[in-house]
Point group: C2
Amino acid sequence: MELLKKKIVECGKLLDGDIIKVDMFLNHQLDVCLLNEIGKEFKRLFPSDKITKILTAEASGIAVAAIAGIHFGIPVVFAKKGNPKNICKDAYTAQVYSYTKNTSHQIRVSREYLTPNDRVLIIDDFLANGQAVKGLLDITQQSGASLEGIGIVIEKGFQEGGKIIRERGINLKSLAIIDEVKDGKIIFR
Amino acid sequence: MELLKKKIVECGKLLDGDIIKVDMFLNHQLDVCLLNEIGKEFKRLFPSDKITKILTAEASGIAVAAIAGIHFGIPVVFAKKGNPKNICKDAYTAQVYSYTKNTSHQIRVSREYLTPNDRVLIIDDFLANGQAVKGLLDITQQSGASLEGIGIVIEKGFQEGGKIIRERGINLKSLAIIDEVKDGKIIFR
């Protein structure tokens, strides 16, 4: 998606250790006009009328998934960050490990909002090691819902998440894939 | 807002201790068509073209603020839940106390995204004791930005947050104010 790539080049900040900071438009301040175009693009890439739910994770996936939801005309469910100490009998839960923070947290989705009748599109802002998406896939599987695909705004192609998901035969579409950051320049796939 | 009140009556669940659970459409599963109407209504209630930023708090304010942002055509900033152990020189921070959880957490907004030139509309999903809004007001003041108003989806009129904010002369508009829950019935103002 050219508009998105342009924005990443113009506004993304390169930090140490291959970190690309996009909190100016994607995960702290939100460029809602861009997010609206991203929502439209996801609908174009996943045109099936059979999708019944969009699933994302708290917190930074919420904005992009909610706005995409308007273009799909279907409900959005966001997995909440839970407290592992709390036993949730009425929720599907999964553990998400964060490499950047070296911590693990639980995500949960109420059993009411995902059922075997649902056909799920997972949407998230970032895909790197794929731990968050792995948690959402785990929850989808627990619910008995079927998976229609995964839509990602920015994929870090130099990390393994995208490769592993595609090898599983899942319909993964990323709007921008960054293959390399070289001499302060972002190289897209 | 009649559509919202109807939804609260139809889908809200009354739990012990005056808790009205609306996670079926507002803060776990999202009825994005309703959120779109809510966004339009906020624009009608706050028509000023001078508003430059919408400010909300992670996580449950993000969806409604992001969708409202499309109707306003301006950027949305969401305060992140921070770690009080981390010193943030480049962020405004505030403490938010939660009565329901009896815990306190820090919220923060990068100094880049709120400046004295900004005119801020605060949007949030819920107003009860007003602790989250108080934190957002605190951050707005620290930034030197001016406040245009506060838009709330559901206000619990039987708790003190709304009263305190209105007494300060702030332009607070709530789309549904619940004054009482009596014999399992919700009474709106």
